[in-house]
């Protein structure tokens, strides 16, 4: 994570002055994929960069210490060693950005990672995820408990009742959605959000990170997300301290694309170690 955002007093005049032209943003969103025509090692390098930005996530009702353990092991060795070796990337400490689990699974994740000598941070969704419709008291308690169990990062669901009625909260990162909505991370919405990040940076000097989450499944999409960040906010927002991809199945597709780059063959899913 970047330096903390201390926040500023709520300035509703600023918020009310924001103008967004839907068509212009949609057009921009259509153009972004075309900006990146990377091939070969350029594409492989970008895919590896995407891997380093992934919050490898499991948020299921049936999560157990077992599958969380697998997830953590995959997060700390996200790409097959032989593939990395052939790109001379095996000794670069490549991991995902974090693992992301429910509060009750934080302890499991921390334990696994410690046993594996990994310094990978554990992120936890908290505060009545995904609806956020629980009382402030229990929401705060949930955060406290997750931190106590060793969570280094907390994904908070803001109380949208407050947001929709104009009572905002501040943060170090902003996230498109919980991933549990029918529509999650879309490029036009992301463009508006990252422009708010730029606006905030230009006014206060504080850099806020961005995390799209939900429905990001293909390597190609991950490249578009990186392109969007590069185009709108610049190269600094291509690193995990300011950019995360919330995803669960994305990593497998990226790994297959890297396999293809290295070997020239298309891999079956079972050829990639599972998470």
């Amino acid at each position: 994570m970047s330096a903390r955002n201390p926040g500023i007093p709520l300035d509703l005049e600023w918020v009310s002055k924001v103008r967004v032209n839907t068509q212009a943003v949609l057009k921009r969103a259509q153009q972004i994929p075309g900006r990146n025509k990377n091939k070969k090692q350029w594409q492989a390098a970008w895919l590896l960069r995407a891997v380093t930005c992934i919050d490898l996530t499991t948020l299921a009702g049936d999560d157990t210490p077992g599958n969380v353990h697998r997830l953590c092991m995959k997060a700390s060795q996200p790409v097959r060693a032989d593939l990395l070796q052939s790109m001379d990337m095996h000794d670069k400490g490549l991991t995902t950005a974090a693992v992301c689990v429910y509060p009750s699974r934080v302890a499991d994740a921390v334990k696994t990672l410690k046993a594996a000598n990994s310094r990978l941070p554990v992120a936890s969704v908290a505060t009545g995820f995904p609806a956020g419709q629980t009382p402030l008291k229990t929401r705060l308690e949930e955060v406290r408990l997750a931190v106590q169990d060793g969570a280094a990062e907390i994904d908070i669901v803001i109380n949208r009742t407050l947001a929709l009625t104009g009572q905002w909260e501040g943060s170090d990162f902003i996230k498109t959605s919980t991933g549990k909505e029918p529509v999650n991370a879309t490029y036009p919405v992301a463009i508006v959000m990252v422009r708010a990040i730029r606006d905030y940076f230009l006014r206060t000097g504080h850099k806020v990170g961005f995390k799209p989450a939900g429905g990001i499944r293909t390597a190609k999409e991950s490249l578009v997300w990186l392109t969007l960040m590069k185009e709108e906010l610049g190269d600094e927002w291509l690193r995990p301290h300011l950019f995360r991809l919330g995803a669960s199945s994305l990593l497998a597709d990226i790994e297959r694309q890297i396999y293809h780059y290295v070997t020239g063959h298309y891999a079956a899913y079972h050829e990639m170690p599972m998470a």
């Binding site: 068509q23 057009k27 390098a45 960069r49 001379d88």
Partner: protein, 794 residues
């Protein structure tokens, strides 16, 4: 790619640069090889490679030779024109749906060979969008299908020469060639260097799609000399040009007096304002700037105008968005010197720069650069230098933003950014440009009329409006007879003084009346104070009228331009009411007018009564039309609203014919005035009295003073004065062949819309007494210019 083999995955992983873009040109190369690397001319449905011609080498971006094209000779041009003329018989005789189908078949041809075409365009450094070409074909195929249904009484002109400058895009070329073909004309295309190869391929594909031989010919070589050779050929009916201003002017001068109408679309090099109001989505606006302002090849020179209250915000965003940008290759050898000089000069005037990196000490590229703190008087604004330089100006109020945007001789397009609907529409209305792009830029679609205002064009391309340049009313023959240019001394045209009036000796029987002319709502003598005599049909001196000259034209234009904007802004119904008062005033004074017509022309009382009656009818007719002739909402493929709006031209100079002196004057006056123009009318020197008598009618109507001005005197003198006044946007001329030649030559710069007629009328004034609907339509189309407004919405 030498660079890419050195960069390791880890290097890229760290730098996160984009990789090099490589594009294959294999298909294009294969086609060129099939043509043996030497492209011929496309005449009469096939490639011909005449022996012993000079060739011209087309080079790619790295300077390597792509292939050679032929420099056509006069003999080749003559072949292509006769092929086009005989092709016209076949093509124009086809039913509309057959022409439509041929255009549609080319769409499938394009889809088959699209790869080849786009690679050829890339090779020739004239990138063009494949989907835009398909859209053009589909759109004009529709018009081909519907010509007879929706445009009855109009007929194709014949053989049309489509000329584009070397730097013009394939899209602009096709925006001329396709409507010409769709309306049933045949076309000789004279492409520039950059469009030669794709135009030749398209011609071949067209023939494969079933276009009859001769309908589309392509001759390559020196554009200007070929164009004047084609224009000189009596089989050519019309010449239309798209491209840069310089070549357009030269073309006008070279073809003046040939008796062929020439129109220009200055589609390149215009200065266009990019206006960001404080109510804009600033990020999207800045995004638009980044996208369009620093391209290697750009159609227009943008001028960034930003409202002061958001200046800092815009500058900060420009800095952050431009941070990673790379240097842009310059177009020409020697550009670097000009760019360096311009930047240095701007800095000396206090400009601050936004640049992603320092320019390399030398070399043919330059980083994208915004010159902040510029003013309209700075040289880089007045005459924009080449290269990726963007001058930034600030303005205080919304009104000042529009004023700033308008303060330029160009009127091609403007981009304006605001989320305020009222402001957007008001600014769109206030900008004197042909295309207004609200919250967007550079949107081109064939359904949007493209009609540059001011010096940016004298014709309309695109839309239904753009079809009329390729048509003429079926009932009338071309108004400009073919001629050969005479060795006219342009500097002396219209400088001869009128014959002085000398005392005729005592003769108490005749005491000719002295008439006054009409300027700014007042009757007055000429500035010089001198008069000329008006003769009756029997040769006796009938009256004296003022002998007006340059100063009178100046006074009349001053009066006209003062009142015209207000007249134009009046609602059409309001203008209609004023015209009704004019019609009523003429009814009241019908006897005076009839008497004046009678003594002037010697026609029978019955005939003159009829002319007065028809004149009254014309006034009622146009009063009724005022609020009926409107633009509309256009269906475009993108999501949003597109408006096409007819606007008055401004001040129109009308040099009137000798025939039907009252009716012709009233018909032209009312067509121009009804659409919101002001006019400076020059009555025929032979028959000026009815027009001078009409001043009484004007004075008793409530047409505002200055909207109509009437000057009498030598036709050539006044034509010369009108031609040399920059405020006058259009001249409707009835007069001599030499007058037409003079106007074509002179009105190339500043550019005016010309509607030229030589005196000899064969139909005995039927165009005035019984104008067919298409002729009336032509009159109002001549009286307006089009503006398209594009407002994208979700």
């Amino acid at each position: 790619m030498a660079g890419s083999t050195i960069k390791t995955v880890y290097d890229i992983f760290q730098s996160m640069d984009y990789g090099p873009t490589s594009s294959s040109t294999a298909t294009a190369q294969a086609w060129l090889e099939h043509q043996s690397g030497a492209l011929g001319l496309f005449i009469d449905g096939r490639f011909v490679l005449p022996a012993g011609r000079q060739t011209c080498s087309v080079t790619d971006s790295s300077g390597g030779s792509v292939c050679t094209t032929v420099c056509a000779t006069d003999e080749d041009v003559s072949l292509s024109v006769s092929s086009g003329a005989s092709g016209f018989k076949a093509w124009s005789a086809l039913p509309c749906h057959v022409r439509a189908k041929t255009l549609l078949r080319l769409v499938s041809g394009l889809q088959r060979y699209g790869q080849c075409l786009s690679e050829l365009c890339d090779l020739a450094q004239s990138p063009s969008s494949f989907s835009a070409l398909v859209r053009l074909l589909q759109y004009y195929s529709g018009w081909a299908q519907l010509r007879d249904t929706l445009l009855p009484d109009w007929t194709p002109r014949g053989l049309v020469a489509v000329v584009v400058s070397d730097d013009c895009s394939l899209y602009s070329l096709m925006l001329k060639a396709l409507p010409a073909l769709a309306m049933g004309n045949t076309v000789v295309v004279i492409p520039g260097v950059e469009t030669a190869i794709p135009a030749l391929l398209l011609a071949q594909l067209f023939v494969e799609a079933g276009l009859p031989a001769g309908v589309l010919n392509v001759v390559t070589g020196n554009v200007l000399s070929l164009a004047s050779t084609v224009a000189q050929n009596p089989l050519t009916s019309y010449v239309t040009y798209s491209g840069n201003k310089n070549d357009g002017e030269k073309l006008c001068r070279a073809t003046a007096g040939m008796g062929v109408p020439v129109s220009l679309s200055i589609s390149l090099g215009a200065t266009c304002p990019f206006i960001i109001f404080e109510s804009a989505d600033i990020d999207s606006a800045v995004d638009g700037v980044i996208e369009t302002a620093f391209k290697k090849k750009r159609e227009c020179q943008w001028l960034l105008c930003v409202q002061e209250s958001v200046l800092d915000i815009v500058v900060a965003r420009l800095k952050s968005r431009m941070a990673g940008m790379k240097s842009v290759p310059l177009q020409k050898e020697g550009d670097r010197r000009l760019v360096d000089a311009a930047v240095e000069e701007a800095q000396q005037q206090g400009a601050t720069l936004i640049q992603p990196c320092a320019p390399s000490p030398s070399g043919a590229s330059y980083p994208p650069t915004v010159l902040c703190g510029m003013a309209p008087s700075c040289p880089c604004v007045v005459t924009p230098p080449p290269g990726p330089l963007l001058p930034l100006l600030s303005f205080r109020s919304q009104t000042e933003g529009v004023t700033l945007g308008n303060h330029s001789p160009h009127g091609y397009a403007a981009s304006l950014w605001t989320e305020d609907l009222t402001l957007a529409l008001e600014a769109a209305k206030g900008l004197s440009v042909g295309s207004v792009w609200v919250n967007s830029h550079s949107v081109l679609d064939p359904s949007l009329p493209l009609s540059g205002h001011k010096e940016s064009s004298n014709c309309t391309d695109g839309g239904k409006e753009g079809l009329f340049q390729f048509l003429r009313p079926s009932s009338s023959s071309p108004s400009l007879p073919r001629s050969s240019p005479t060795s006219l001394d342009y500097s002396r045209f219209g400088t001869a003084t009128s014959a002085a009036i000398i005392p005729q000796g005592p003769d108490s029987s005749s005491c000719p009346r002295s008439y006054l002319q009409y300027v700014g709502g007042k009757q007055c003598k000429s500035e010089s104070g001198s008069s000329v005599s008006v003769l009756a049909p029997d040769g006796a001196v009938l009256a004296y009228c003022p002998d007006a000259g340059r100063k009178d034209v100046r006074n009349a234009v001053e009066a006209a331009i003062k009142v015209q904007p207000g007249w134009m802004k009046r609602s059409p119904t309001d203008r209609a009411q004023s015209l009704f008062t004019l019609a009523k005033a003429l009814e009241m004074k019908r006897r005076d007018l009839a008497a004046s017509l009678h003594s002037q022309t010697g026609l029978s009382l019955e005939e003159v009564d009829k002319e007065v009656e028809l004149s009254i009818a014309q006034l009622y007719d146009w009063a009724a039309r005022c609020d009926k002739e409107t633009g509309g909402i256009l269906p475009v493929p993108q999501s949003g609203s597109a408006l096409s709006i007819p606007e008055a031209l401004g001040v129109v100079g009308v040099v009137l014919p000798d025939s039907s002196p009252l009716l012709s004057m009233v018909s032209l006056l009312v067509a121009a005035v009804a659409m919101g123009n002001a006019v400076v009318m020059v009555p025929s020197p032979k028959n000026p009295l009815p027009a001078l008598e009409f001043i009484q009618v004007l004075q008793s109507s409530d047409i505002p003073a200055g909207v109509v001005n009437i000057l009498t005197g030598g036709r050539d003198q006044l034509t010369q004065a009108l031609a040399n006044h920059s405020v006058i946007k259009a001249i409707w001329y009835w007069g001599s062949v030499e007058g037409c030649q003079y106007l074509q030559h002179t009105c190339a710069s500043p550019l005016k819309n010309l509607w030229l007629h030589c005196l000899e009328e064969k139909d005995g004034g039927r165009v005035w007494s019984q104008p067919p609907p298409s002729l009336l339509e032509e009159r109002w189309r001549r009286a307006v210019q089009w503006k398209s407004v594009w407002i994208p919405t979700a």
